[in-house]
Amino acid sequence: MAVLVYTENWDGKFKKLSYELISYATKLAETLNTSVVALSIGNVDEAELRALGQYGASKVLAAKDGRLGSLENKAFASVIAQAAEKEQATVVVFAHNFTGKAVAPRVAVRLKAGLAAGVAGLPQSTDPFIVPKKAFNGSSFANLKINTPIRVLTLFQNSFGILEKPAEPTIESFEPTLNDSDFATSVKDVNKVTGKILLTDAEIVVSAGRGMKSPENWAPLEQLAETIGAALACSRPVSDEGWRPHEEHVGQTGKVIAPNLYFAVGISGAIQHVAGVSSSKFIVAINKDKDAPIFDTAAYGVIGDAMQVLPALTAAFKEFKASN
């Protein structure tokens, strides 16, 4: 038996997200009286693999097949399912991110396992297996019972946290069987922005809406974001109008994010917008309309004109940083 965790890497490095998955799996494995096996696919060096032990992984499987350099859903699903079978995993844990959402459903079918997507915490019971997951766009939680002997979970980011539990993992090379037919798609071109904080990773997000009036008014937002190390986001009309790229659109039909701190500037707080950000730990709303619904969701509110409030806020942060 084991809890298997798929730990994704980004150019050979793990992220906080990977450690959160291992922490979650370690806690779950304690309840199930079993241990955690981490599976890594791609080129990751030994020290990086070993670091997964810090959070409780007792074994790390490393699959380094050169054909697995970019995500091919079918091939990745095959590798992960083979690892699950080898380790006789009863639970397989993924992140609820691009890769997890792409691969977990395929793995579930292969293992005849029930899937809980967007899991928000530890199971409330493991026999029967019942886990909380997000539903209805963040407006509620559903407790889902999984009836199958193997379960596949995708864990919603920042819903568990990172816990250290040092272990000395054994590191094992893993060589799954792969056929040419597992590689039915191929990447022709990659276009990556480097050096920017990723919206889905960011601890702080500065987001703005139609209240900014025009794309020329983004400079004060960029200055604030830069001062506090935040990623930029926007409401849907802002991306629909082409003021900002689609990747920055958050909400029900855009990205769902859960930073520690979310600034909503000139955003009214429509239900579809809030659906994407309601899991943020703290929301600060800056809006000139005191009745804007965003104030119902926010922890802190400022009533005022964004173009005046933003420079003052940036200055206050700079002052704070200088004295701390």
Binding site: W10, S70, N73, K74, A77, N97, F98, K101, P105, R106, V109, A113, G114, L115, A117, G118, P132, A135, F136, N137, S140, F141, A142, N143, L144, K145, I146, N147, A184, T185, V187, K188, D189, V190, N191, K192, V193, T194, D240, H246, H249, T253, N260, L261, Q272, F282, D296, T297, A298, A299, Y300, G301, V302, I303, V309, A312, L313, A316, F317, F320
Partner: protein
């Protein structure tokens, strides 16, 4: 070549979510049902592709798993421009059940390209497309934000962390699509609505599958504390609160 667009029938995005029977059942009283927003965009793009393919794409079909209550939604998809429709006559019990039903439709009719939305805006499972591809043994590409058809081949733009990838894929293939695939959904016009009445909508019984998961009950998140207002002239105070009270700075 034929395209299938999978359609999920979901509560309108402004629905106030409520539960009944001791929080064990989603209360659908007064709920307006719509085409899942991503599915609507997928259908829009599928029709555009068909129209500009010079006849290479012969047909765009829509399919849903749902009881008669889902019929207006699937009719709307026909009014938007789909050529024909299937409705598998059952509640969409869970993602696996739904995928297994859609797989039967694909096997019977032989579609080359299947579009699914990245998730449905009710249970947010995001699993039907991936499961469908695995059941069928098809290739799949997720987080697709653009699809193009040129010189007899499809290319797909996939969003990844911090960027985009352009992919080619061998058909048959399931594309799991998100925002960007089309900007605005097509709105049915009068002629479309009239035509929809005579387009084929075939109702088929559900195939039996395992019942892998079930919802036990629901919880609403704890009520939020009241918003603390900070004077616009005093941003030092806001920074102070974020540092000492929220402890996020």
């Amino acid at each position: 070549m034929k395209i299938l667009v999978c359609i999920s029938n979901v509560p309108d995005t402004t629905t106030k979510i409520r539960f009944k029977d001791n929080n064990s059942v989603f209360d659908t009283t007064g709920v307006q049902w719509i085409i899942n927003p991503w599915d609507e965009l997928a259908l829009t793009r599928a029709l555009e592709l068909k129209e500009t393919s010079g006849g290479a794409i012969e047909k765009v079909t829509v399919a849903t798993v749902g009881l008669t209550g889902a019929e207006p939604t699937i009719r709307k998809a026909l009014a938007i421009g789909a050529d024909d429709a299937f409705r598998v006559d059952s509640d969409p019990v869970d993602a696996y059940f739904t995928a297994a039903q859609l797989a039967e439709v694909v096997k019977k009719e032989g579609y080359d390209l299947v579009f699914c939305g990245i998730e449905s805006s009710d249970y947010n499972g995001g699993a039907v497309g991936g499961m469908l591809s695995e059941i069928l043994g098809f290739a799949s590409i997720s987080s697709v934000s653009a699809v193009n058809y040129e010189n007899g081949a499809f290319t797909f733009l996939r969003e990844i962390d911090g960027g985009k990838e352009t992919l080619s894929g061998n058909l048959p293939l399931v594309a799991i699509v998100q925002k960007g695939i089309a900007i605005n959904p097509r709105i049915p016009n009068m002629r479309g609505i009239m035509n929809a009445r005579s387009k084929p909508l075939v109702v088929i019984p559900a195939a039996s599958t395992d019942n892998q998961t079930q919802y036990v009950n629901y919880e609403l998140p704890p009520a939020k504390a009241k918003c603390k207002m900070v004077d616009a002239e005093n941003m030092t105070e806001l920074v102070h609160l974020l540092h000492t009270e929220a402890k996020v700075i």
